[in-house]
């Protein structure tokens, strides 16, 4: 059986694997790194996204043997020293997850997206994340989170609250949509 050497979240592993073993199953079943889930069997959902040598990859579409000699970072390795990665924090702050199943992949894909476009527009985030599916959120809060994470990663203060972000992106007719109570004038008598 082939032998692979990989670093996962900073820990070096050397293992014998079947040539057909998928990287995601290697991570989950062999190394016990279960933070990265599997959502499909056709490479469509993105739940399994990890960083492979610094770029995002769907770990269900990579064989463990192909990762030989690579550095893998999963959602479990993002936080350091008890501090969340700014993108993790942004997902929490914008309520960008419900069941959380898509979240590990979504966070990894978002971080990768920012490497190419550190200050993405709403549209750029939507296009950039179309390989990551979420059934719970409707994506609005994910888009907000990615843009908030981008600001935090570029050193800008997060500045706006969720409500303000929504107002900004929803155009002139939009009301506040989150994070704040609806104004008095709106509530029914």
């Amino acid at each position: 059986m082939p032998r692979v050497t990989v670093t996962v979240d900073g820990v070096a592993y050397e293992e014998e694997v079947e040539p057909r073993l998928l990287l995601v199953h290697f991570l989950r079943d062999r190394l016990g790194r279960t933070g990265t889930p599997v959502g499909c069997d056709t490479g469509n959902c993105g739940s399994c996204t990890v960083m492979l040598d610094g770029r995002s990859a769907k770990s269900c579409s990579v064989l463990a043997v192909q990762a030989d000699g690579s550095d893998v970072v999963t959602v479990e390795g993002l936080a350091s020293g008890g501090e969340l990665h700014p993108m993790q924090r942004a997902f929490h702050e914008e309520h960008a997850l419900q069941c959380g199943y898509c979240t590990p992949g979504m966070i990894m894909a978002a971080i990768d997206l920012l490497r190419d476009d550190p200050d993405p527009s709403e549209e750029a985030v939507r296009q950039g994340l179309k390989g990551n599916l979420c059934r719970c959120t409707g994506y609005c809060t994910i888009v907000r989170a990615v843009r908030r994470g981008a600001r935090a990663m570029s050193g800008e203060p997060p500045g706006e609250t969720a409500g303000e972000t929504a107002g900004e992106t929803a155009g002139e007719t939009a009301g506040e949509t989150a994070g704040e109570p609806v104004g008095e004038g709106v509530a029914a008598p």
Partner: protein
């Protein structure tokens, strides 16, 4: 090596940074109404989640199922012997091997006297009735080896004719799915005199709509781990219903209920699809019992698309009688509902949940409903987000738009002329439900303003005038739903097999911290956060001092679980009720310690004081009382040394969230492409515990409803093979397919529960499908289009336009309709 994560530290840091946001209304309490960020997130964003598939036990085996490739066949032979010789294989079984042991998968909703509930063995024995039905299984040392060995199993089939079309299934001489025939049940209901309403009606709208079959597609595939433990078994399952599942599994497998523990660990979405008692759960338990070892089964997505129950699949004929001024006289509905091959947990009940909703938010004199459940050789259908109510809302909201078009009235105006006005609540509808509260005017006015309705209508008129190949359509959807599946008495009268109450336990621990045990079973809804907010306010303790336990029948022994937008409306209220009971006990203890009469004690901000002594007066905090109860040194006579309480809540009525959703689409008449330009939702879900969570539920619901309107359809070929087995074929919306949603709320509290809450889980899905389709049809009305079947894909839109002769005579069509369009 990077520093390893200290989960506790991260959680604390998150909590510190979350000290934001003022309480909504200090008089109402500090927590309820506040946009609390979720405490669940810490584990979910760091990959420390407990999905069922993460579970590993020493000696655990993996199960794989061989599934029928035939839609309908006699299963003449299954031979697993070659599989047994494969590497790593520990056991392999066919359906016959479980004869006498596997029982029948339960249907808990025998809706009518005439209902036919066919035997439904978890593993087929001599007949298969849909593609994907399990016919054999392999148990091996890892999941790859189990999958390999499936290929060595030999199964022989004698094909029978597939039954795919509901109308053909009911015709004389149709091949029978079950011995008793293809009709599962008929169910009729009426209010008022529909004959009179339709007789000489000035306007009758008569339409047929197809609710296509959908695949719920929770992102976490199903997974089951069954483990022998002590004298009994523990079943871990990605389920929405650990409590119901435990009862049902005990009844199905004969494993005594008290020796069966069911755990729903973190569950990655459900949307009704995990409201089920599945073949894999039953067989997993039987295998663990037979082999004496823990077994795991995790489905692949393509296996899931085949075998997770599907949703919708109805043909709806709706007729609406009206006056020429647009006032509705009555509605008739004739429904065919595809059950698929068997009746699963609540399969036949789903269309009935819609039966009381076809009158929508409108006043009318008469209503007539008939439903026929039909067996076909497809995957069974069952609850999918909204369950019956999205279908009903779609039909009435589409028909009301057709009425508006027929009368050349603005669709909002027709609704205004018919809806229950704010002064008329409580209002008993023609379907017999009493809507307790609502304000359709306020929600609609707000939605119109947020969308900029008048401006968009002007632009629409302009585009029609210019014969713009990209036409603008505006869709309106006003909805209400019977929500918070509850009143046990009502559910009983509908022949449902269980009650609708919910349970909570609240315990003050000796150090003053609080444990809330809930019978709800969240899978993304954030109950740990919302229930903490409710308990923190009720007991006057910090949010951080509360923890919420759920999803394990050993921890939370009583409950009715999570579905039907019921959790807050029933379960959240049960938490409040348990807190009130704890407070009553605490008050007695405080009176004793303060040497006052019980009635002289008042409670504010977490402190019990003698009335009239003011804030400076002597008092006992909740925490002090918790310790005093634990120490038990000085208790009133007969006082048990604990401050905890159980409560159940069973409301007298459903709750009725409502709202107005508006959607503007651009339809390219040359390519058929539909693009959503803006989407506005104003919902009234009563009082709001956590606005962040409410907004998230609305967003996700809208996205799923848009999925039905534009993208999603489970397609079977003429032989009964499912063609949409992957996420490349069954298209759920991606971020690039959806716009930003503009959401807002009005707030008329529910009167049926002390929190005033109405439920929000299904609202978005119910409202958005008709809003989008109404918009698409609205864009195309100048072309003589009155309907576009769902999903409104570019191909479908293009075909509808081609049939309407639009491409040949677009200019003429637009000109003809100039006076129709843009009615204000």
């Amino acid at each position: 090596m990077t520093e390893q994560l200290d989960a506790g530290l991260v959680a604390r840091r998150i909590a510190e940074s979350d000290q934001v946001g003022e309480p909504r209304n200090p008089a109402e309490g500090r927590e309820v109404g506040r946009a609390r960020r979720r405490r669940e997130d810490a584990r979910l964003i760091t990959g420390r989640t407990r999905w069922t598939d993460n579970i590993q036990f020493p000696g655990m085996l993996h199960v794989a199922f061989l599934r029928s490739p035939m839609a309908h066949a006699r299963l003449t032979r299954v031979d697993v012997s070659a599989a047994l010789a494969m590497p790593g294989v520990v056991a392999a079984f066919s359906g016959r091997d479980f004869d006498g042991e596997q029982g029948s998968l339960p249907c808990a909703w025998p809706v009518s006297e005439d209902v036919v509930i066919p035997d439904h063995p978890p593993m087929a024995v001599d007949r298969v009735r849909y593609v994907g039905e399990a016919v054999a299984c392999v148990v091996a040392t890892d999941r790859y080896k189990a999958a390999d060995a499936l290929e060595a199993i030999e199964a022989d089939y004698e094909p029978l004719e597939a039954v795919l079309d509901m109308t053909e299934a009911l015709a004389d001489g149709a091949p029978a799915v079950h011995e008793a025939g293809n009709q599962a049940f008929t169910w009729k209901f009426s209010g008022g005199d529909a004959g009179a309403a339709f007789r000489d009606a000035p306007v009758v709208i008569d339409r047929t709509y197809v609710q296509q079959r959908l695949i719920p597609t929770a992102m976490e595939p199903r997974a089951v781990v069954a483990a022998p433990e002590g004298e009994g078994f523990t079943l871990y399952s990605a389920t929405q219903i650990p409590h119901i599942l435990r009862v049902m599994l005990a009844l199905t497998t004969g494993i005594p209920e008290h020796l069966l523990r069911v755990v729903a660990p973190d569950v990655g979405g459900g949307f009704g699809s995990k409201l089920q008692v599945t073949a894999e759960e039953v067989l997993g338990l039987l295998l663990a019992r037979r082999l004496g070892r823990p077994v795991k089964w995790t489905e692949s997505r393509s296996e899931g698309n085949l075998t997770v129950h599907h949703g919708r699949d109805q043909i709806q004929r709706i007729s609406l009688a009206a006056e020429r001024d647009g006032r509705i006289r009555g509605v008739r509905v004739d429904l065919l509902a595809d059950m698929g091959a068997y009746l699963m947990l609540v399969t036949p009940g789903v269309p009935l949940l819609g039966a009381f909703m076809y009158n929508g938010i409108y006043k009318m004199d008469a209503y007539d409903f008939t439903c026929t459940g039909v067996f076909t050789t497809k995957m069974p259908t069952d609850a999918y987000r909204g369950a019956g109510r999205p279908e009903a809302t779609f039909a009435i909201e589409r028909a009301v738009d057709e009425l508006a078009a027929e009368l050349d009235l603005d669709p909002v105006e027709v609704r205004r002329r018919n809806w229950i006005s704010r002064e008329e609540f409580p209002y008993t509808t023609v379907a017999g439900l009493t809507y307790d509260s609502g304000d359709y005017e306020a929600a609609t006015e707000r939605a119109l303003a947020l969308l900029g309705y008048d401006k968009l209508r002007a632009e629409q008129a302009d585009r029609r005038e210019r014969r713009d190949p990209v036409q603008l359509g505006i869709g309106v959807s006003t909805y209400t739903e019977m929500c918070g599946l509850a009143p046990s008495r009502v559910l009983g009268s509908l022949s449902y097999g269980a009650g609708g109450w919910e349970h909570a336990t609240v315990r003050l621990l000796p150090t003053g911290k609080v444990e809330v045990v809930t019978g709800t079973s969240p899978h993304g809804q954030g109950h740990e956060t919302s229930w903490s907010q409710i308990a923190a306010d009720a007991l006057g303790v910090p949010f951080e001092d509360v923890s919420v336990l759920h999803g394990d029948t050993a921890v939370s022994p009583r409950g009715m679980d999570t579905y039907g937008s019921r959790s807050l409306v029933v379960g959240g209220v049960a938490v409040l009720a348990a807190c009130e009971k704890v407070k009553e006990k605490a008050k007695r203890l405080a009176a004793h310690l303060l040497e006052a009469a019980d009635d002289d004690i008042e409670f504010a901000d977490g402190v019990f004081r003698v009335r009239g002594t003011g804030l400076g007066g002597a008092g006992r905090t909740v925490q002090e009382l918790a310790l005093a109860a634990f120490a038990a040194h000085d208790l009133p006579d007969g006082f048990e040394p604990r401050l905890d309480a159980d409560a159940t809540f069973d409301p007298e009525n459903f709750s009725f969230p409502h709202g107005t959703h508006l959607c503007a689409v651009e339809v390219d008449t040359e390519t058929g492409t539909v693009a959503i330009r803006s989407y506005v939702a104003v919902d009234d879900v009563g009082r709001v515990v956590n606005p962040l969570i409410v907004e998230g539920q609305v967003h996700g619901g809208i996205a799923q409803g848009i999925g039905q309107a534009l993208f999603e359809e489970a397609v079977y070929d003429p032989e009964g093979n499912l063609l949409t087995t992957t996420m490349a074929d069954y298209l759920i919306p991606s971020a690039a397919d959806l716009p930003d949603f503009v959401t807002d709320r009005t707030e008329t509290p529910a009167t049926s529960n002390p929190l005033g809450v109405k439920g929000v889980g299904e609202a978005g899905t119910i409202a958005s499908t008709p809003a989008v389709v109404n918009a698409v049809v609205d864009a195309l009305r100048p072309y003589g289009v009155h309907d576009v079947p769902m999903p409104c894909t570019p191909e479908r839109v293009w075909r509808v336009l081609a049939r309407s002769g639009a491409s040949a005579d677009r200019a003429g069509a637009v000109r003809r309709d100039e006076n129709d369009g843009g009615a204000q």
